[in-house]
Amino acid sequence: MVGAACALYAARAGHSVALVDRGAVAGGTTGAGEGNLLVSDKEPGPELELALLSSRLWSELTAEPGAAEAVEFEAKGGVVVASSAEGLAALEKFAVEQRHAGVDARAVTADELYDLEPELAPGMPGGVHYPQDAQVMPTLAAAHLVRLARAAGARLLTGAPVTEVLRSADGSVRGVRTGRGEIHAPAVVNAAGTWGGELAALAGVRLPVLPRRGFVLVTEPLPRLVRHKVYAADYVADVASDSAALQTSPVVEGTAAGPVLIGASRERVGFDRTFSLPVVRSLAAGAARLFPFLESVRVMRSYLGFRPYMPDHLPAIGPDARVPGLFHACGHEGAGIGLATGTGHLIAGALGGAGPDPALAPFRPDRFPEEAS
């Protein structure tokens, strides 16, 4: 997803772009996650800034003819639900801070809550409504951005693993070697997601991208009973957590195609693909607590993916001071779909070489201490 967005904005800015992937479009984490474009779960700070920028760019992109349908864009809004009075107080305080940062966050009373989501479990004291939250179908979104990038002149090379980052005598980047031949270019953007650390290593630099596993549950198709993205207030704490242990407060949402998606767990277990019944069990239990009617709805399948996770929960975006010509755009953890447009836009700007962009400072790829491991 991120690579597709970088290619699109760079090509539209007039650069000559080759988009290279070892697999197919959306064959990585993008095809194994969900497509929430959230501002609601982010605390004020650089990531929220990026999310707001991205949200504007998503709106622009999906306003282009045919685009909203092509990516199944839905500006459905999010509803965060508190289950206790204390929880509600904390949630509302958080929303006030977000409002100062430019987020449209509306406190809702218990009554209003059930107007927004009639099927919610009874007894919830209230919540916050975030009209800016939206959603796309990630695979279709990546496919569409690739289509647009190609229309803007970018070249797509699939099935081409990058095996080497080519460097000049002075150390600067001069292209990549792939399984399908060399590509020469004065700039290389690392948008390898969860595998971004390996790609950085090919260029001789350390970038600590780690996998954080997530399971998603998919139900049988239903009429629209869940109208927004609905999640419990403790979700935000899970997202920002540093713990390796499992967290499973689920986001529940209906999709255009009918099935309800319930996701996603977060745990750091390396690249372990083994199915875990306890994990999906707690996802299911969390969803049923929010929406009791789901009890009798059948779960059709479950899938998992590995979010590209960085120690400080911020992505690496921008030029790498250690290797001239090397740029990074990875490590977006559980928000890479949403943050892709903003990332692509910033990368295109940085490729233009207009000097250091203050917006990129918090995302400096070389911010992590050298050496370790």
Binding site: G23, G27, G31, E220, A257, L277, A284, L294, R301
Partner: protein, 479 residues
């Protein structure tokens, strides 16, 4: 909804427990072998009665008076059936019918397994069996490749036809064509003819040589009427036209099947231009081979070999405590399933009792296994679905019936977006995301994509109510 009862053999004795999933030839043989050797066995199957695909029983209510007339190997079946009854009476086997297993969970802390199943009229009632070891004997399901018109009423799978036969449905007066590839087609055609249907043609895409050779795999036929006579002879006697190296390229009809268009194939499997001709029929039974059920094994983390569960000489998978037998480990007929099941049961019983099993105990079964396997491997080669089948699939042919995805959508994903694997195509087109989770269209999508069919991961072997999932294994008594 009732709380999850803890079913199956229990009682807290020192006797180790074995769960056998699937009560076909493999599962029955495994359950009996293990019970006789001292294991407490719970035999779990989705069917109303034991028997699996091969000994599929006519429904009891139909009151079939002479079931033996429908079933060959009646003696083998009687032996298994009586053995099962005796073991149940002796309290060594518990047989759970109408139980659909949706997941087998390996317990990390306590070791052992929980077999999660659904039962009841709507398959919503949870039931959990705790066991020290598991035998997966889940069999195989049919592979069907699409062609224009294949969704018309009157087009059924070969297995569907077989089920109608064994279920006692009247086929007299029907005109049928049997088509596709593989050793299944012969018994199905012979069975249909014996049941009084007019079989207008048997259309097999492999060459005649292969057909003659494979007549031996399923040399035992469930239909007594055909017993003894070779299928080919039987079909000739009934004047069934055998069209080897031919394929059905289209099913025709207005609202229901009226005819099929059949064409000759060249050596590469391409349609010979101008060879198409029409055969009138109201029933078309198609099949392109069988695919092992691997969902439960995959979720447990068992290694697969191609499309089947990998098992060693003792029928053990690479996951400790999990055995696999029968068509789940590769397709080869009922005799092979029986042999593998027997070996799995012997091995599991010994190991559960803490003994190193002695392979001499199952020498005869091992011999039979070696012989049948060798033969079935050569069959696989002879009955690969014909190359180029996808060329006859028109753009508007529906490939995924659950999600209504036409071939054109899949071709776009491949051509325009560089999709080279079935998973990406699925995400781009929704093919395989519906009720059957790609069991039906998986091979077709892979074929149209131009990649090898790999089993897609399905953590749930059956759809499971969310409430059941949320409480799965919660109320188990401590042991």
């Amino acid at each position: 909804m009732s709380r999850s009862p803890h079913e199956g053999a229990d009682g807290g004795t020192a006797c180790p427990s074995l769960a056998v999933i699937g009560a076909g030839p493999a599962g029955l043989a495994a359950a009996l072998a293990a019970a006789v050797r001292g294991s407490r066995v719970t035999l779990i199957d989705a069917g109303a009665q034991a028997g699996g695909q091969f000994y599929r029983q006519p429904a009891e209510e139909l009151g079939a008076r002479r079931p033996q007339a429908l079933h060959h190997q009646w003696r083998t079946w009687e032996r298994l059936r009586d053995g099962l009854a005796a073991q149940i009476a002796a309290g060594r086997v518990t047989h759970l019918t109408d139980h659909h297993v949706w997941c087998v969970e390996r317990l990390e802390e306590t070791s052992g397994f929980l077999v999660h199943a659904l039962h009841g009229p709507a398959q919503e009632e949870p039931s959990v069996v705790r066991a020290d070891a598991v035998v997966l004997a889940t069999g195989a399901y049919e592979k069907v490749l699409p062609f224009p018109g294949w969704t018309l009423p009157g087009v059924i799978t070969a297995g569907g036809a077989q089920a109608m036969l064994k279920g006692g449905l009247v086929l007299q007066g029907r005109t049928a064509v049997v088509a596709g590839t593989g050793p299944l087609l012969l018994p199905v055609a012979a069975g249909l003819a014996a049941a009084g249907a007019e079989v207008a043609a048997l259309v097999e895409s492999a060459g005649a040589q292969g057909v003659a050779r494979h007549a031996r795999t399923f040399a035992v036929h469930p239909d007594k009427l055909v017993e003894g006579a070779g299928y080919v002879a039987e079909l000739m006697r009934r004047r069934v036209r055998l069209k080897a190296r031919h394929a059905v390229v289209e099913a025709q009809g207005d609202g229901a099947l009226e005819a099929v268009s059949v064409a000759a194939l060249d050596r590469d499997g391409r349609v010979v231009p101008g060879s198409e001709h029409v055969i009138a029929c109201d029933t078309l039974a198609v099949g392109h081979g069988l695919l092992p059920h691997t969902d439960l094994a995959e979720t447990l983390g068992c290694r697969l070999e191609g499309t089947a569960v990998a098992a060693d000489d003792e029928q053990r998978t690479d996951v400790h405590g999990v055995w696999a037998a029968g068509e789940a480990t590769g397709v080869g007929g009922a005799a092979l399933s029986l042999a593998e099941g027997h070996i799995a049961g012997c091995s599991a019983a010994a190991r559960l009792a803490g003994r190193e099993p002695d392979p001499r105990a199952w020498e005869a079964a091992a011999k039979s296994r070696a012989k049948t396997r060798k033969f079935s491997t050569s069959l696989d080669a002879a009955f690969a679905p014909r190359a180029h089948w996808a060329e006859q699939v028109t753009d508007d042919t529906v490939v995924c019936r659950c999600e209504d995805v036409p071939a054109s959508a899949i071709r776009e994903a491949v051509g325009e977006l560089g999709a080279t694997d079935a998973r990406t195509v699925k995400l781009l087109t929704r093919a395989g995301m519906g009720w059957c989770q790609g069991r039906m269209c998986g091979p077709a999508v892979a074929g149209l994509t131009g990649c090898e069919p790999v089993p897609s991961r399905r953590p749930f072997a059956r759809p499971v109510p969310l409430g059941v999932l949320a409480r799965a294994g919660e109320d188990l008594p401590d042991e």
